[in-house]
Symmetry: C2
Subunit: 418 residues, 2 copies
């Protein structure tokens, strides 16, 4: 029997009506001949309520208890979904993580899958059950404690089940109808993509297109799980949504598939750092220890007359999320007072944003960066930092130009046209 | 290490402040040298919310899914209580039913205990944990599905753990400070009892003093678990509350320990039933099949001239909860149309209440019934039905006299005096 995995997020199961609506979509696939594994999140708001209770109860909370409390939200949805399906004459039952069992590591609140044995669920399919409703986001450790995978873990659960059960596809039902070339709130020319490659999705996800959890895309890429993002709130068919798939499944790629952005960036520059071997490690080691998510790094080397000698000096610039600036400054000042680094000044610019052009087509098509810089220059947008990867070009610019830059690049790469 | 079981009901863990308050009571016992097993209910209102969702989702719901959903309320409280205790430096962890495991039958929503193996919890006590916080009301079936014990099941869980672990005592924390000689809302002379025998408690519980679930008292009686009822909302010490214990632990008993009442009674009389062997079975069989909780039964035999012959006839009177009257009438009418019984009329009186005097002292002291009837006669209260058992005398009276009767009997048996 062909098998589908269908995942419904918190807004898709927010109340009983929406659970019923999701159940209709499941039933349609059953009627088409599929066995279905449904992965459900907690009803929206429930997880936050539970997390709030835990945090109020205990400041340095025990992650094992946190997980035991927080996982209960998904259990409720799983039971209700199974009941709703039964009411519609679809043979279904709910599965909590320990019942499957979804074996994970003991890294509570950030557990990783160890194994998902098929035997128990397969036995129920063999008995005539058509749907297994599995509580997402959770598992069980070797010690028999309940674990959770961290936020967004239900996407990862869905992909892991699709891999374990050899599903034909993993459909992620959410509150948007697919992946867009850019944020439709910024330009109405934004267009839904029919297909996108895993690598592109990873760059878009981490850059702010928060539709799919990054880890779930990584897992799908590794196990070649065809992933589809589509809306719970529209009538859907086989061509709905966006298919996230292997590069080889995409016949022709444009150079650029989408424009991503991130508003909450800050740029920090250490002015006049001595340029010597090991200096980068001396700077970024303490930042990593302080938990700073350093993103872009740029270094310009120059020379400086220092007490009669000419020494190689550099300005070291990096970006990080704006809410980590205070911690980053403290880490740098501490390193300077310990003597492990030296610098004249630390200049912080918190009025910047990042805009990125992403596309697997860049691998075979040259000149993407040049077209990008030309499009920004035509709008008089000054580029402060540039970083490139194999399938991405990112620039840091003044935040006030962010929307303008996204619109200009969307036009420049012709993304409104299919 | 001596061990205590402490159980906190829904109002005692209604919010985070109350959970913290309950945790203080647990810590006090730990400081006194006890290992403690804490049994928790769901935060008040939560179980009703979950039940409402299930009932709205599915009319003929699958009890296995019902149990999986509804049991999640206790899991949340167990985790929060463990966190709170940890915050107070008490080594504690939560236990869900399947983790202990609390093995039950597969009678979902009305499961019964099969076994509670001590090994897992004992191992944690041996590691230095001082408190096991166990989710009440739930267990796990042989098939690995979550079961629940039915309403009030957390009391039963507490007693079962006390029996399994040989606890010194099982303390039931609730929103009243003990068992009273009668309802203090009816007479301010009502007095808290220091001790009450299991048998008395059973009669009082089933008669409407809804403090302890009947099944938990039965279980405590069978395993001789010393059960104490006390308030979560007051400072408590070793002498607080009411100890429910074996008859032998009570040195001297008055003839009557308490006056119970039940407001929601109805009296039904089948007029002129032929008095023949098997007639009671012919009447009460169909009532049992219809799920009617018949309580008191009285039969008066007379003779009647029937088509020239003298036959023995009887009026058969019984009582049942007022909300079952319609079903009871239908069951009797069906039986008459099938010809299995015959009667001239079915007279229903829904304006009655039951008042009972309960006391193990009745076994050794005579004249209790006579004193009761005299006290009621002195107030001109007419008695409609009388029923007696070894430790109880009950009367059915007009409902409007119920409070008066309770007050008169409380006075007549001198219950205000210790």
């Amino acid at each position: 029997m062909p098998l589908l995995v269908m995942k419904f997020g918190g807004t898709s199961v927010a109340d009983l009506d929406r659970i019923a609506n999701a159940a209709e979509k499941v039933k349609r696939e059953v009627m088409r001949g599929y066995d279905v594994i449904v992965i459900v999140s907690a009803m929206s708001g429930k997880t936050n309520e539970l997390v709030g209770w835990v945090e109020t109860t205990s400041h340095l909370y025990d992650a094992r208890e946190y997980d035991a409390v927080v996982a209960s939200g998904e259990n409720v949805t799983a039971g209700l979904m199974a009941l709703r399906l039964q009411e519609m004459d679809v043979p279904a039952r709910s599965w909590q993580g320990w019942q499957v069992p979804i074996n994970t590591t003991s890294a509570h609140s950030a557990a990783r899958f160890v194994s998902i044995p098929r035997a128990n669920i397969d036995a129920k399919f063999a008995e005539g059950f058509k749907v297994a409703v599995v509580a997402g986001f959770q598992g069980v450790s070797e010690e028999g404690r309940i674990t959770t995978l961290g936020r967004g873990g239900s996407d990862t659960t869905a992909v892991a089940f699709a891999a374990a059960f050899g599903a034909e596809r993993c459909d992620i039902y959410t509150d948007v109808d697919g992946i867009y070339t850019t944020d439709p709130r910024i330009t109405e020319k934004a267009r839904k993509l029919d297909k996108i490659a895993f690598e592109e999705m990873l760059e878009l996800a981490s850059l702010g297109a928060k539709v799919l959890q990054t880890r779930s895309v990584e897992l799908a890429m590794r196990y070649k799980v065809r992933l589809r993002v589509l809306s719970s709130f529209e009538d859907t068919d086989d061509n709905s949504g966006t298919l996230v798939c292997d590069e080889e499944d995409i016949m022709e790629s444009k150079a650029v598939s989408g424009i991503a952005y991130s508003r909450d960036e800050a740029k920090l520059t250490l002015v006049t750092v001595e340029d010597r071997p090991g200096i980068a490690a001396a700077i970024f080691g303490p930042l990593a220890d302080a938990g700073i998510n350093v993103d872009m790094i740029v270094q310009n080397i120059s020379e400086k007359d220092y007490e009669g000698r000419t020494v190689a000096v550099t300005d070291m610039t990096f970006s990080c999320p704006i809410n980590q600036v205070a911690r980053a400054k403290k880490a740098m000042e501490d390193a300077r007072s310990k003597g492990s680094i030296n610098y004249d000044d630390l200049v912080v610019d918190t009025d910047v944003a990042k805009v990125s052009a992403v596309g697997i087509g860049m691998r075979s098509q040259s000149g993407v960066a040049a077209r990008m810089f030309a499009a920004l220059a035509a709008e008089n947008v000054n580029i402060k930092v540039i970083a490139t990867s194999e399938i991405k070009v990112s620039v840091l610019i003044d935040r006030k130009y962010m929307e303008l830059a996204v619109q200009a690049l969307h036009d420049a790469f012709g993304l409104e046209k299919a």
